[in-house]
């Protein structure tokens, strides 16, 4: 069975959250998002032993916690299962969930763990009641009002893609099922052109997840720069500006403090704020090294420079590291201390703004500059933004199926094969609201084409 993943603890409650992976590839997928601290791979630990380690995704490490492997058939579902325990709180947990999807897991449908447990003969009476709870969780999914509105617009957009695919697929099948009808066949070129448009729309939707995630889950933000350029005052400015402070969570094992603040639409997750704050008294070398380290997983880099001074070699080193880590496109340069009078010019490969963390001057420019980094590239209407990992996963799968269909047509495969990929794309989108694909195709053929003997 394909490996499914879902948050198995109540939404946004409690100090610890658990994500459960179940399926043939559960252990492999867990290894892609979890690195045991001892260095010994997860699969080499014995079953049912809790292993301590670090959670990471493509953007770097973001939390630490425990992983426990259950080898089939000795698990809840009877399949290979890995339970990942991370720190509670919505954002971190969601990030871990998203990481498991990127590593190959698919979102679990309501009741799916129980279903599998049953199929594999694992379900016991005491677990029966849990199913009811799962079903309830699906219908009463409590989402913020704003997010729900966004989701509505998105659903519309996804439905439009579905309808378009339905039209194309039923056209393909109308010609296949009624080859002798007097219909102008859709040429491979027309089909390719239509699929190309669809691909662009789905790709834009996929890209919008960057923004959607930025506004719903937040982006990890690093504040870097040499000592005494004003990193901690930038931090204070951001926190002071913040209107709705989200949970500051103290880690239990390391002295890491994460704070989430809002900058315009975007949520910034600031990690190691303690480190930034205590940076003042450090010697230069340690300060820079700390900055470089924080670049690792950053989705947004605020590079702070002292505008009252000339650009130093150490500043140049910071810039060079940003370039080396490939973060140039994610960086905004903050030429700080504008309150100290006319500033010096800094030469940076990323956009820069002038501000004073002390007076708050330049705050609006900062919001604009950061917002511009996350704006959708396509001109999507307001709200047509992918904001949750489940939608993201569906859109990604649909996009890759459409790309496969295009690839099949371009490499000379016939329309029956392209039709298969197109149905797969429809299936991915249909999963969001549970439609039956093949019936829709047949119905559409009858309603649109005059076919029959």
């Amino acid at each position: 069975m394909r490996t499914i993943s879902a948050i198995s603890t109540p939404h946004g409650v409690g100090a610890v959250s658990m994500i459960r992976l179940s399926g043939d590839d559960a252990i492999e997928i867990a290894e892609r998002v979890f690195r045991p601290v001892g260095g010994k791979p997860l699969s080499h630990h014995s079953a049912r032993q809790s292993v301590y380690g670090v959670f990471h995704d493509g953007d770097g490490d973001f939390d630490d916690g425990l992983a426990t492997v259950f080898v089939a058939p000795n698990s809840y579902t009877g399949e290979n299962v890995v339970e990942l325990m991370c720190h509670g709180g919505v954002l971190g947990t969601r990030r871990l969930l998203a990481a498991t999807f990127r590593a190959g897991a698919t979102p679990a449908a309501a009741g799916e763990y129980t279903k599998r447990a049953f199929i594999n003969g694992k379900l016991s009476l005491s677990q029966a009641e849990a199913v009811g709870a799962l079903i309830e969780a699906k219908t009463d999914a409590c989402l913020g009002v704003g997010i729900r509105q966004l989701g509505g617009a998105l659903t519309k957009k996804i439905n439009l893609c579905f309808e378009k695919l339905l039209r194309l697929t039923s056209s393909v099948y109308a010609y296949i099922d009624y080859p002798e009808e007097d219909m102008t066949d859709m040429s491979a070129d027309e089909l390719k052109a239509e699929l190309g448009t669809l691909k662009a729309t789905l790709a834009a939707l996929k890209d919008s997840y960057r923004y959607g995630k930025a506004i719903s889950e937040g982006v990890s933000c690093a504040i870097v720069g040499c000592p005494n350029v004003g990193k901690s005052s930038v931090l204070n400015m951001l926190i002071g500006e913040e209107r709705a402070i989200v949970t500051p969570i103290a880690g239990t094992t390391r002295d890491v403090v994460t704070e989430t603040v809002r900058l315009g639409d975007i949520l910034l997750r600031l990690s190691d704020t303690a480190g930034i704050r205590e940076g003042g008294g450090e010697i230069e070398r340690i300060g820079i090294e700390r900055s470089i380290k924080s670049l690792e997983g950053a989705e947004l880099v605020l590079a702070v420079f002292d505008g009252s001074k000339k650009q130093s070699d150490a500043d140049g080193e910071v810039i060079r590291h940003i370039e080396e880590k490939g973060k140039t496109a994610l960086t905004v340069g903050l030429i700080n201390k504008s309150d100290k009078g006319r500033g010096f010019t800094y030469d940076t490969p990323f956009p820069q703004i002038t501000l004073s963390a002390k007076t708050g001057e330049g705050m609006e420019e900062l919001k604009k500059a950061v917002g511009a980094l996350y704006a959708s590239t396509e001109d999507l209407g307001m709200g047509e933004t992918v904001i949750n990992a489940r939608q993201y996963s569906a859109v990604c799968r649909a996009l890759s199926a459409v790309e496969n269909a295009l690839f099949a047509l371009e490499s000379g495969f016939t329309q029956d094969v392209a039709g298969f990929d197109m149905e797969e794309a429809m299936g991915a989108l249909a999963e969001l609201d549970g439609r039956s694909v093949s019936e829709e195709i047949v119905n559409d053929i009858f309603s649109r084409f005059c076919v029959g003997k």
Binding site: T114, K115, L123, A128, D182, C450, K453
Partner: protein, 625 residues
């Protein structure tokens, strides 16, 4: 009515159309004493609509019937007038064979086969009653009072059950082609608790060949050489042409002006008609912006002047039909031989059936063909075959044979019917199968012949020939995967011709075949020899290699759903007593009584959450672990 004991049977089949023939042949060939009852011996294997076998989706069914040991493909090959492989440019999964047939010769062939089959009696007689005791059938009674005891009864009554023909303002009791309607049986079935409903279909006019001006018509030739449904059957050469013409603005005006006289629109016809086979008045009204509709002119046989007008099915009054036909190019002087008509008939709700096609509420009673709400000769034959097989297996005390969606169009057809039901005559289409890359015409034997052989329907010679074919195909695939084509000017030329740069060195022959535009004949040309396999097997090899990636992908899909299909639901489960299940879901499940969790999940309106509740219930109350 005074009854007399007329015979002792294992299986009684009612109706000698395409479903009844396969049912009776399967049961008797499996060693059971069978009788096939028909209203008239001159009606055996009749094609009351178009004189053709196969087509999209339907061609697949005929190949599958052949692989299971059924007869339809042999009859079609023997009486073929024209053979065309449709969808050649659309890919191997949807290649569909369609044959024009000599209608009378088809009937003659089938009647002879039936007459020569051991254990089988072909009897002219109207069955007026199906007898049952304690929820199980005991036999049938004919109109002359003959009681035939039977352990199983298969209903394959087509459009004859409660048939009514309608032409304009005229309506009368009749089966197809002005044959007797079977009216008495309806009441008997109703008294057994079988729910019945009205469906309708129609057929176009037949006109005299000499009245057609062929000089202005488009000609459509058959394939040369023709393709056949069977490997080892007798074959006709074919070589007959069809013709194409079109309706026009004048035709459409005539139809619109007389629409009030069409019973379709006047409310005369209560039955539900098929969307895939609309009448010409339906097409003109529903697709008002279409300037013309295509008409195929097909011969009814080699020895007759009757011509069939595919696309002109109608229930308009006869004089209007004549006007509209005369408005069509080439048909200006057409002489009518048979008038087009609509026909309404009794059929059952197929969700009353188990996947074996046995009624859930009457043990030993089976339904097949149009009686089950399907349409088409091929759909009927497929169901008849499966009903006959399962009736025989049940009597023999052997496990039933239910084909899955992932191994056959037949399984897809039956699962659609018994699980989803249908509100109109159901037609097979390739788009109904989610596994169509696996379900090709060319690999029907690979999918099904073992099953047909095991139950004794596939003859030893056919099976041996299949094994030889299979070995040859596998050997050739292994060879092409193993051998390297060395670099040579001819290879470079082939690569360049197909838009590739020449290879660095040699290339695996199978990899070369994966390139767009490269066919298996190119490989043989490089090897400087003729194909070692005949065309049929050569294409198999080519498809298996070229489409391997997609085929594997579908196989994985099949595996994903396998465990759901194997999870059986107990027969006596009371869905209304299950705590936590939604009322709507409980009612649906109570009505459909699905056999497996997989089948339950395909019933419309059953959600994943309902399935979960069901699974929990099962584990708690003695379901399988």
């Amino acid at each position: 009515m005074l009854k007399y004991k007329a015979g002792d049977l294992d299986v009684a089949v009612i109706g000698a159309g395409h479903a009844g023939i396969e049912a009776a042949l399967a049961a008797s060939r499996m060693g059971l004493r069978s009788a096939l009852f028909t209203l008239s011996l001159d009606l055996v294997g009749n094609m009351p609509c178009n004189p053709s076998i196969g087509g999209t989706g339907k061609g697949h069914l005929v190949y599958e019937i052949t692989a299971l040991g059924g007869e339809m493909g042999y009859a079609a090959d023997k009486v073929m007038l024209q053979s065309r492989m449709l969808n050649l440019s659309k890919g191997p999964a949807v290649h569909s064979l369609r044959m024009q047939s000599d209608r009378r010769a088809y009937q003659g062939y089938m009647k002879k086969v039936l007459e020569e089959t051991e254990n089988l009696s072909l009897i002219q007689g109207e069955v007026v009653e199906v007898c049952a005791e304690n929820g199980a059938v005991t036999g049938v009674v004919t109109a002359f009072g003959g009681f035939f005891a039977a352990k199983a009864v298969i209903i394959a009554t087509g459009t004859s059950l409660g048939g009514m023909i309608i032409v304009g303002e005229h309506a009368y009791d009749s089966g197809p082609d002005n044959t007797k309607a079977a009216n008495a049986l309806t009441e008997s079935l109703a008294s057994l608790g079988i729910p019945l409903r009205r469906f309708k279909t129609g057929t176009p006019a037949r006109i005299h060949k000499d009245s057609i001006d062929f000089s202005v018509l488009e000609e459509q030739k058959g394939d040369v050489p023709p393709t056949y449904f069977t490997v080892d059957g007798e074959k006709s050469e074919g070589g007959v042409n069809c013709h194409i013409t079109y309706t026009n603005g004048e035709t459409h005006r005539i139809i619109r002006e007389n629409l009030h006289r069409s019973p379709l629109y006047g409310g005369e016809i209560k039955g539900v008609g098929p969307r895939y086979c609309p009448s010409i008045e339906d097409k003109v009204m529903r697709f008002a912006d279409k300037e013309r509709h295509q008409i195929f002119i097909e011969p009814m046989g080699a020895d007759t002047k009757e011509m069939y007008l595919q696309g002109l099915s109608s229930s308009l009054p006869e004089e209007v039909q004549k006007d509209l036909v005369h408005s069509i190019k080439g048909l200006e002087n057409a002489v009518f031989m048979r008038t087009a008509y609509a026909i309404e008939y009794d059929c059952t709700d197929p969700t009353e059936l188990l996947p074996t096609l046995e009624f859930k509420r009457v043990s030993g009673l089976y339904g097949a063909g149009q009686f089950n709400g399907s349409s088409g000769y091929e759909e009927a034959a497929a169901q008849g075959l499966m009903a006959g097989i399962n009736a025989a297996l049940k009597i023999k005390g052997q496990p039933s044979l239910v084909l899955s969606r992932s191994e056959s169009y037949i399984g897809t057809l039956i699962d659609d019917l018994v699980t989803k039901g249908t509100n109109e005559p159901y037609r097979m289409m390739t788009s109904r199968s989610e596994y169509r890359l696996l379900l090709r015409q060319d690999n029907a034997e690979d999918r099904l012949i073992e099953k047909g052989y095991r139950i004794g329907l596939v003859k030893q010679a056919q099976y041996d020939r299949y094994l030889a074919d299979k070995a040859a195909v596998e050997e050739e695939i292994v060879r092409l995967k193993g051998e390297t084509q060395s670099k040579c000017p001819a290879l470079d030329e082939l690569m360049i011709k197909n838009g590739y740069s020449p290879t660095e060195g040699g290339i695996r022959k199978a990899d070369l075949l994966l390139r767009s535009g490269v066919g298996i004949d190119d490989i043989y040309a490089l090897e400087g020899r003729e194909s070692p396999l005949d065309t049929r097997l050569k294409r198999r090899v080519e498809t298996e290699i070229k489409y391997a990636g997609y085929i594997d992908k579908q196989r994985r899909e099949v595996e994903r759903f396998a465990s759901m299909e194997s999870k059986k639901l107990p027969e006596d489960i009371d869905y209304s007593a299950i705590k936590g299940i939604r009322l709507e879901a409980a009612q649906k499940l109570q009505k459909f009584r699905p056999q497996s969790i997989g089948q339950a999940s395909r019933i419309s309106g059953i959600s994943p959450a309902d399935i979960s509740v069901l699974l929990v219930y099962l584990s708690r109350y003695g379901g399988e672990r």
